[in-house]
Symmetry: C2
Amino acid sequence: MSDFEIPDLKKMKLPADLKKLDQKQCEVLCAEIRQLLIDTVSKNGGHLASNLGTVELTLAIHRVFDSPKDKIVWDVGHQSYTHKILTGRLERFGTIRLENGLSGFCRPDESVHDAFISGHSSNSVSAGLGIATAMKLSGSKRHTVVVLGDGAFTGGLVYEGLNNAGKSETNLIIILNHNEMSISKNVGSIAKYLSTLRTKESYHKTKNVVEKALDKTPLVGKPIIRAVKASKKAVKNVMLNSTMFEDLGFAFIGPLDGHDSEALENGLNAAKALGKPVVVHVNTIKGKGYAPAEENPGEFHGVGSFEIATGNPDVVLPDSYSSVFGKELLALANKDSRIVAVTAAMKYGTGLQYFAKAHADRFFDVGIAEEHAVTFCAGLASMGMVPVFAVYSTFLQRSYDQLIHDLSICGTHTVLCIDRAGIVGEDGETHQGIFDIPMLTSIPNTTIYSPSCYEELRLCLRAAVASRSGITAVRYPKGRDNSLFEKTDLNTAYTLRRNGGRLLVVCYGRLYDNVMKAAELLHNEGIVFDVLKLVKIFPVEKELYELVGSYDRALFFEECYRYGSIAEKYSAVCRNVSSYAIDGFVRHGSPSVLLDECGLSPEKIADRIREHCNG
Amino acid sequence: MSDFEIPDLKKMKLPADLKKLDQKQCEVLCAEIRQLLIDTVSKNGGHLASNLGTVELTLAIHRVFDSPKDKIVWDVGHQSYTHKILTGRLERFGTIRLENGLSGFCRPDESVHDAFISGHSSNSVSAGLGIATAMKLSGSKRHTVVVLGDGAFTGGLVYEGLNNAGKSETNLIIILNHNEMSISKNVGSIAKYLSTLRTKESYHKTKNVVEKALDKTPLVGKPIIRAVKASKKAVKNVMLNSTMFEDLGFAFIGPLDGHDSEALENGLNAAKALGKPVVVHVNTIKGKGYAPAEENPGEFHGVGSFEIATGNPDVVLPDSYSSVFGKELLALANKDSRIVAVTAAMKYGTGLQYFAKAHADRFFDVGIAEEHAVTFCAGLASMGMVPVFAVYSTFLQRSYDQLIHDLSICGTHTVLCIDRAGIVGEDGETHQGIFDIPMLTSIPNTTIYSPSCYEELRLCLRAAVASRSGITAVRYPKGRDNSLFEKTDLNTAYTLRRNGGRLLVVCYGRLYDNVMKAAELLHNEGIVFDVLKLVKIFPVEKELYELVGSYDRALFFEECYRYGSIAEKYSAVCRNVSSYAIDGFVRHGSPSVLLDECGLSPEKIADRIREHCNG
């Protein structure tokens, strides 16, 4: 574009026309995008700080590379909003995370520019290596660009990927988006190590100077001559391989200022020219350009809607299953020094901040490392501690082998507090908590509780901690307890509400409230049925098989994937079971709409019951 | 012990009395232990080379530390035989891996000296950190000693552990048993990096000398003075943190000669005195002391019985499900350049050596990194390749999240060839392949084939490769096809053998042969029944629900864990299903004995059928 012209994204052919902008126009564009991000996320909720931090980086990537011929893989996807805006999704951007709107993550079925699915952390290097390898095998000279934050480096999958990528002879470019945060402040020694790189502004210069000096060793003074001569090669190795990435076989470029468009483009062009696997270290400021987010990026990592002026986010609901869990665990831990709390980078999300503050020595944030979390718990438990691992249902999937191998075989007692169980809503397919029941029921020595309200959560947590052996899981949904049912006869086993019907409806967790609402809906129609609310949902006690088997028909409503559901366990023994569980992945949207779509709203539950009574 | 006396393990109080030996006695003892290892493994099978490599190391550990007060965690357990011998299991050592004998791995229920379970690779740092943390919290000054091979470093869980351990302020001692092998030759850049450490004999010396030199910079000649002065701190950082482990916060000792008892004890004593997390790098020779194993440690990693004189191992059976798979895949790949083969350090075990030789560019051994393997496949598949991941059933457990998140949501087509499915026998609880069906059936977009003989495996593999979308798994057992049933009407769907009964027996895989043998046993008793052999076992086609439902009763026999079995899927629809699957973990022993114990031998199957006919 000639002269200065304010770039108008709406009129541009994207992402191709981005290459025509000059640096000044880029700057203006970045400011506009930031405003759009703030406006949209303030309405729709979503990931703000991480997206604000990567505006310049995303623009630079699209100016240096040609998506979709070059493939861009975004780890987690928390930082992909600008990418969406720049790849033809500007007009729909206001719908992000809304019903039928854009996904909050990358999805190949949403855009050809989303090269790979994102949602769960740390998969991008492996996926990118697969893509780059396919390019190599097909003779393509195109590039694969992977963008991941330093937070993803706490997950072991990244290392498995790096170990294979470093020597791969592909055109893989790995951009380390370094903001020193994953979701909360990063933990562990990797974070510390990466931070030392961040501050090595003089890294390249130093390296060159020292390298030259070493080449000239005969000239230097005596004391160091001997040392250096004796071990010139060893020293050179150390000097030339002085980042972990170089140790692993990558070229290394950086650190680059992640908010300097020109520096970024120069760095990326250098990476592009190398023709070998390279790590580009980019320093970014999470929350860049929005003061409340810059000051407190942890709270602005993933937010519901918030007020732009005050920046008041509502991520940590004081009234939520998470906080009820957190406070109850604190109360238990105050009386029992064996209790240790573990989280995989979700201190606030799981409500463990209360525990962490009061018992810092017994609180462990292990990073985005669910495998380690479980095996670490197993080690603690083998010494008589009572570890409590608070984890989102969807992320527990990463620990399947550790649950079997490190915990279950020995019957070691560990408590899993599974937050975000069932439909989570806006985060979509990658985050719905619908596999924890199939997963855990397929592991011996496992007990699962599914409380239907806050008070039952407290009871279950106490029972789980008091249990002596095996994996004891308590699963509960995201958000608030909005249940209206009468809170009598709460316990940790089950409650049968008899109305004299020959039909039994079986449920657990928050669906109990929906079932009771369905009962109200059907009351006027004269349809009566008994309701069995399970609290300890697995293993199934003999008396419950007998109870369920004694009815003409038992309808199970469950917020979990159908194969591996609790109904299946009953079906194997009882001949009268009809199962209504979830039939596959669940798209993003509001939880109530999705529950309805899955046939689990009060109305849909009523429909199913009516069918049985009238059929 | 005074003077020289040949140490007699049988008379010693173990491990305490080991501390009384002098170095000469240690040497004699190590030679004796080596002979015992060779004799025993030559009879019982097991892990030879790795155990031969760690005799001196194990002895040194037990001389420097006090097990069980100090805790020793062996990664994988392939190297724990000497530990078993030295901790009260000498007399039973001849029973290792045999029916009712010692386990081939570490088991806390076998000995108080086995601090943690072993079997699956790369869990030891996390488990050890849990134990060390519990010690710290309880005020104990005892040590936790973790021993892991460099092979384990290809697994991401190790990094998650290191990331947390490096900064843990515990007494954790991590011994890197460096032999440059995992199971086959190590792969990836981590291996290369560790090897650079292995050869840095002068590492400590160099470091000290250069450090001193840097402290004296004012004295040295001009050209380097400027460079060094300008960046003294940066250079010093690089020099002082010159191993990856130091970058991660560990003290570092080594490399030590793993066959020099005195050097080992000195190194371990130094580590013990540090009072902070430390990595001790020990160089060992896998197979040390037995020429055939030293020359070919890959083949001697895990062996069946072998002849001592020739050292002829039989790990790669030319006649096995693995080799039939490997040869068929090669034939397919010769005609289809989209086919790519991936293994997680099991090239020989899975029969991929044929493919690897013919198509080196399309063969990927990713190390012990099953998570990466699956996501790497997803990346390849997203570009139109047809990745085939050959993996043992038990190790696929590590990929549960990647199967869901990276493959299933997008419906990307990848073929899983699941070897060692069902009872594997001698390796025991940690290795039985009884969870792949519960795991895979709980993942949408998954198809599972379970062939009953070699020819059916070929048919299934062809169908799986030809499939267009989703995860397509083919599962088959360890070892040979010994089936005797008539090989007619082989296909990839199902076969119904009608005998006019009202009873149906349903099975798949190698159990079909057992069922046919049971039919013979019952023939004389006049008991007749129909047999449904499933080949595509999941998802279940509607016509099969109808077929099974049309009988008075259907008995399912399955070599998988009961919760999540195929029978459960039928139970949810049919009212006449009785399920006979496996009721929990399965101990080690010979497969035929274990199958009988699980009620799945021809005789036990006949018993169950008889019960139904007579009851």
